[in-house]
């Protein structure tokens, strides 16, 4: 039987759609993980590998301080270890963001600055965090310096590269528009350059944060006597997998919460102008051209093939 084109979906498929919907899939994922976990548990030596329940029990004991474990003289429990790591991460992250933004801006605005730093940014980008952690631990010993520096060095190239790309992607048409209306440069920077930079800045910040965390844990394993990384190593040395997994989960929970509580609302506020396809455009069949970053590309950006070769800048003689 021929299926009519453009008819409303049939009622009977509702149940099937509920099963195959993205929401269901998302909810099903943790269950799949637990299933695989138990599968592994029953196939390998169960004295080494903990069950999810054991890990949760461990985490609960750590949270309620009922495990009786005292880690070191400086930070005696979960909260102490966690607090130190978060402080190190925050300090490194803020420094990386500040330096990265300033350098990225300079590199985006001036070609000579870009040429000066370019290769070195790429080199730092290519360097594994492990190397920073090891080298800096040897140089600075077991203090805060090595972990914080590792966070900075791991994160800063991502901020630089993103901010630089952001500056380069500033819509020239908008700058030209502002200039022809004789808007002062300071106002152009504040209202055209910076807002167009924001999606890149956010991307850089998120990278710096997650890469910084990974660097921090490694640095604390090798170059620290406190912190989350050190605690994970503590449980590794004690040959207790539940400790290693449990502490990793603590941070994952923290990272996801931070994302939802800080980054997401901040991004929503900053990008509230972002166009969802609006009713007018749908009605006119004008789907515009929204680039990945959510900018409305100007139509003349799309037919760039009309550019006359040999002419500098853009010519819209059509």
């Amino acid at each position: 039987m021929a299926t009519p084109v453009g008819s409303a979906p049939m009622q009977g498929s509702r149940l099937r759609r509920a099963f195959t919907s993205p929401v269901t899939a998302r909810i099903l994922f943790p269950f799949a993980v637990i299933a695989v976990w138990y599968l592994i548990y029953y196939t390998i030596d169960s004295r080494i590998f903990p069950t999810p329940v054991e890990v949760l029990e461990f985490m609960w004991e750590e949270i309620t301080l009922t495990s009786g474990v005292r880690y070191s003289s400086v930070a005696t429990n979960l909260y102490g270890q966690f607090g130190i790591s978060i402080l190190r991460l925050t300090a490194g992250f803020l420094i990386a963001t500040t330096i990265g933004t300033l350098l990225g801006l300079a590199m985006g605005l001036w070609k000579s600055v870009d040429a000066f730093f370019h290769d070195w940014v790429m080199a730092i980008l290519a360097m594994p965090a492990l190397v920073w952690a090891l080298a800096l631990s040897i140089i600075f010993g077991f203090g805060h310096t090595a972990p914080v520096l590792t966070v900075i060095l791991a994160g800063v190239p991502f901020v630089i590269v993103n901010v630089r790309e952001g500056v380069r992607n500033t819509p020239k048409e908008l700058i030209d528009m502002a200039k022809s209306f004789e808007v002062p440069q300071e106002k152009i920077t504040r209202h055209v350059l910076l807002p167009s930079l924001m999606p890149f800045f956010f991307a850089g910040m998120r990278y710096a944060y997650s890469i910084g965390w990974k660097g921090l844990v490694i640095a604390e394993v090798f170059g620290s006597q406190v912190g989350m990384g050190w605690t994970i190593k503590f449980w590794y040395d004690a040959h207790r997998a539940k400790g290693v997994i449990g502490y990793a989960l603590f941070f994952i929970i923290f990272a996801v919460t931070l994302e939802k509580v800080v980054f997401d609302p901040l991004a929503r506020r900053t990008f509230k102008w972002r166009p969802a396809l609006n009713a007018y455009q749908l009605a006119e069949g004008d789907f515009g051209a929204v680039s990945q970053e959510g900018f409305l590309l100007e139509e003349d950006e799309i037919d760039q093939d009309i550019e006359v070769t040999g002419m500098e800048g853009r010519s819209h003689d059509g």
């Binding site: 609006n278 006119e284 006359v308 010519s315």
Partner: protein, 246 residues
Amino acid sequence: MAEIKVEDLHKEFGIGEDRVVALENVNLDVKGHVFVSIVGPSGCGKSTLLNILSGIETPSSGKVTITQDNRDAEPGYVFQAARLLPWRTVMDNLLFVQHDRSEESRQRCQRYLDMVQLGDKIDKYPGELSGGMQQRVGIARAFSIEPDVLFMDEPFSHLDAITARALRRELHEMWRQTKKTVLFVTHDVGEAVELSNRIVVFAKGGKLKDDVQIDLPFPRDPSDDEVAVAKAQVLRKFEELDLIAS
């Protein structure tokens, strides 16, 4: 009275074999409450002329002066695409080009947004508007600084025929009310005949080829016989000048 004076203007891009002449010794004088269209084929230097007038590009030689009663005139611009800041509301887009954010500026912006029938959309973001509405905001923005002269670069070329026609009418009404000097670049001869007192014809290579007066009363309906005849005459001139063949 506003005056746009272009004297021996020459502009070329590139050097050596890549050299392209965009404008060749152009002379033009536009004065008072007139609507002047610049028409010509692609690559005839129309937009380059506008870019020079707006200060985005500098001439290779010659000079342009835009004056209002012997002082520097303040120009306003309408571009091919609306060129609105997507992260600013409609009202803020207009306020962005004002000298200050005073209540007076705000009221002036509101007045021109009312004129383009967007008075109730001031808190919308450009992304929430249709292409035609965005271009209307662009037009209101140009008028809102109450410029002495207005430069427009094919402002309706990206719009559908019906929207473009409605906007042309609105624009013309605003021009009549505000008595501005308008320089309007287009490749659409029909549009030029409908809107202008005077049509300046450019040929490829940036040469000014002809200067035609159109003395028909406004508003002009493109389907009127007289307007159709005038359009045919201009098109015939194009053929005589060998513009279409090239």
